[in-house]
């Protein structure tokens, strides 16, 4: 994902002379490509994220398109007020790239878990929040953010994420959901790198004779409201999945829409990282399991809910 990002950024920088990259002293074995090809548009600003975000605003307000780069929280939470006031309020073309979001840094511990940022970013003025599900969505997400102009947050994994779309045929309209499996009576809405687990869960369910729809929703803000409404009308059960706390992020955004719909509408279950689990040490796979967002747990959740539906129907 990091490599897809930097490859696409180099491509964009060849097309557009206004693109500048700032890094907060990170990017070893990733950013060298850009630094070597565009040395005059690359700056390691040091371990100084607040200054990086403020400078990015200054560059953007002077007509440049800026990409800032750091890991997990450092790119965005550390400098949240610079992002809020200097970048978002002024509407500057700054794309904040965080790598290793979610629990990609696993056993590195809570300081390195990017699991609350969407609760902050999705409510900021002018801010687009894009959490791609795979390297292909990453390329399209970056390009769309650059073309859109204005502030954006691009939340990436750490590297090694599987390619889930055909890069040749994939097309994406900014802000739209990507249907991978058409909506069913059970439909997963997924954002970010957890998409692989969600597809695997759908696969497990398929083998149990349960058809589950899967929508990848890389755009958390703006949210594809029409797609959410259509899915909520069609399905009995909607499940949001994100590698982020269950409150305030993607599931929260979907809940805001679904809560306003008249019945009949789907029951909504939000899954994600449970708060107050910060003490638990473990790698990404372990933490996904602990939080019930690995493929097996997601499939088990659906099976349980389906059984409950059947039981209710038999009683009425």
């Amino acid at each position: 994902m990091r490599n897809a990002f930097v490859d696409e950024l180099c491509r964009i920088a060849r097309e557009r002379k206004d693109v500048v990259l700032l890094t907060g002293d990170l990017g070893f074995s990733v950013l060298e490509k850009f630094a070597e090809e565009f040395p005059e548009r690359y700056f390691n600003v040091g371990i100084a994220e607040q200054n990086m975000a403020g400078m990015a605003a200054g560059l953007a307000l002077s007509g440049l398109t800026v990409v800032t780069y750091s890991i997990a929280n450092f790119a965005i939470v550390r400098c949240l007020e610079q992002v809020r006031n200097d970048i978002c309020y002024h509407g500057g073309a700054v794309i904040v790239v965080s790598v290793g979001t979610g629990v990609a840094y696993g056993s590195q511990g809570y300081t390195h878990h990017g699991i609350e940022d969407m609760a902050f970013t999705r409510v900021l003025p002018n801010m687009a929040v894009i959490a791609p599900g795979d390297p292909v969505e990453t390329r399209h997400g970056l390009r769309a953010l650059v073309e859109r102009g204005g502030p954006g947050s691009l939340r990436l994994g750490r590297g090694g994420e599987p390619v889930l779309h055909d890069p040749e045929t994939f097309r994406w309209t900014f802000g739209k959901a990507v249907p991978l499996i058409a909506p069913q009576s059970v439909t997963f809405l997924s954002t970010g790198v957890i998409l692989g687990e969600v597809l695997a869960a759908a696969d497990l369910l398929q083998r149990q004779g349960i058809a589950a729809g899967v929508l990848s929703m890389p755009s958390v803000e703006p949210l594809d409201v029409e797609a959410v409404i259509a899915a909520a009308r069609h399905a009995r059960l909607l499940i949001t999945v994100e590698e982020h706390v269950r409150e305030g992020g993607f599931g929260g955004a979907v809940a805001e829409i679904v809560a306003g719909l008249p019945a009949p509408r789907a029951r909504l279950i939000r899954t994600g990282i449970a708060r107050n689990t910060a003490k638990i040490v473990g790698d990404q796979a372990f933490l996904r399991r602990t939080n019930g967002i690995d493929a097996a747990s997601l499939a088990a959740l659906v099976e349980g809910e389906m059984a409950a539906f059947v039981a209710v129907e038999n009683n009425t």
């Binding site: 890094t23 002293d25 990170l26 990017g27 070893f28 074995s29 950013l31 390691n44 600003v45 040091g46 371990i47 100084a48 994220e49 607040q50 200054n51 929280n73 450092f74 550390r78 840094y105 056993s107 590195q108 511990g109 809570y110 300081t111 390195h112 003490k279 638990i280 040490v281 473990g282 790698d283 372990f286």
Partner: protein
């Protein structure tokens, strides 16, 4: 009276302690393929002298009210912190075998869930502010306890470091001592190439701090300084510890790549041999 053991009660051979720290770190990062071995090695001697001689702490009572406080702000060097604490008896050495293990306690960045660790760190630039708060608390509570903060050089890029430095200087917190692990390398290059810190000592001085420059691998020099604190009455003190990233293993010394790499079997064996031969 201080409820913690006095330093003379629990002094150890700091050269031996430093060697143990480095060997344990090597085994931990080798087994888990973890990064940051270079970061651990540059501060191993500082940790050995602090914990082996200077601190007023009691491993059996890590929560004693008047213990000295230590904040290791460069939390990515957690392996060295854990190895230090285990070798000083804060928890069993055997725990080191479970570093970063699923369901374990020892996270890859320093965690306050581990006995002897005051503050979870890992996001750089937090430790001096918290340490300044701890030093201020000691003054408010009229406690003799002292606060030590270990910073990396790269993290001195962070504005928050200098915000805390201003406050501590303004308020003359002479119960606060900073040790900067000045190894001249950060994540993505050399300090001198990314953001120049020099004249570093002058910066601290102009913020109201007493400054001492020492060889961060010279135990006698470190101990002499740390045993005669405060550096200057009425001023916070900073030791600019000149160090070498990866110190102790020839092929790791002063190499940025050992911020990231972990040794393979062969490199582990050679590194352990070198540490043993340095006796």
């Amino acid at each position: 009276m201080n409820s913690c053991a006095s330093p003379s009660d629990n002094r150890v051979d700091t050269a031996d302690l430093a060697r143990r720290i480095r060997k344990d770190v090597l085994r931990m990062v080798h087994r888990t393929r973890a990064s940051h071995v270079g970061s651990c090695f540059s501060m191993a001697d500082m940790m050995a002298v602090l914990y082996g001689r200077c601190l007023r702490i009691d491993p059996l009572h890590p929560d004693a009210a008047d213990r000295d406080r230590v904040v290791v702000s460069k939390g990515h060097a957690a392996a060295a912190v854990y190895a230090t604490l285990a070798n000083r008896g804060f928890f069993p050495l055997e725990w080191l075998d479970h570093y970063t293990e699923n369901g374990g306690l020892l996270a890859g960045h320093a965690s306050h869930n581990v006995p002897g660790i005051e503050l979870s760190t890992g996001s750089l630039g937090h430790g001096l502010s918290v340490g300044t708060g701890m030093a201020l608390a000691a003054r408010v509570q009229q406690s003799e306890r002292r606060t030590f903060v270990v910073l990396s050089d790269g993290e001195c890029d962070e504005g928050s470091i200098w915000e805390a430095a201003l406050f501590a200087g303004h308020h003359g917190l002479d119960n606060l001592t900073v040790l900067v692990d000045y190894n001249k390398i950060q994540s993505f290059g050399r300090v001198a190439d990314i953001l120049r810190l020099e004249p570093f000592a002058d910066k601290w001085r102009s913020f109201g701090w007493a400054v001492r420059e020492v060889d961060g691998h010279d135990h006698a020099a470190l101990a002499e300084t740390l045993e005669s604190l405060p550096l200057s009455a009425g001023q916070p003190g900073v030791l600019l510890c000149h160090t070498v990233k990866g110190k102790g293993v020839s092929f790791m010394e002063d190499q940025m790549v050992w911020h990231y790499k972990s040794p393979n079997d062969e490199q582990l064996a050679q590194a352990l041999r070198e540490l043993e031969n340095a006796r």
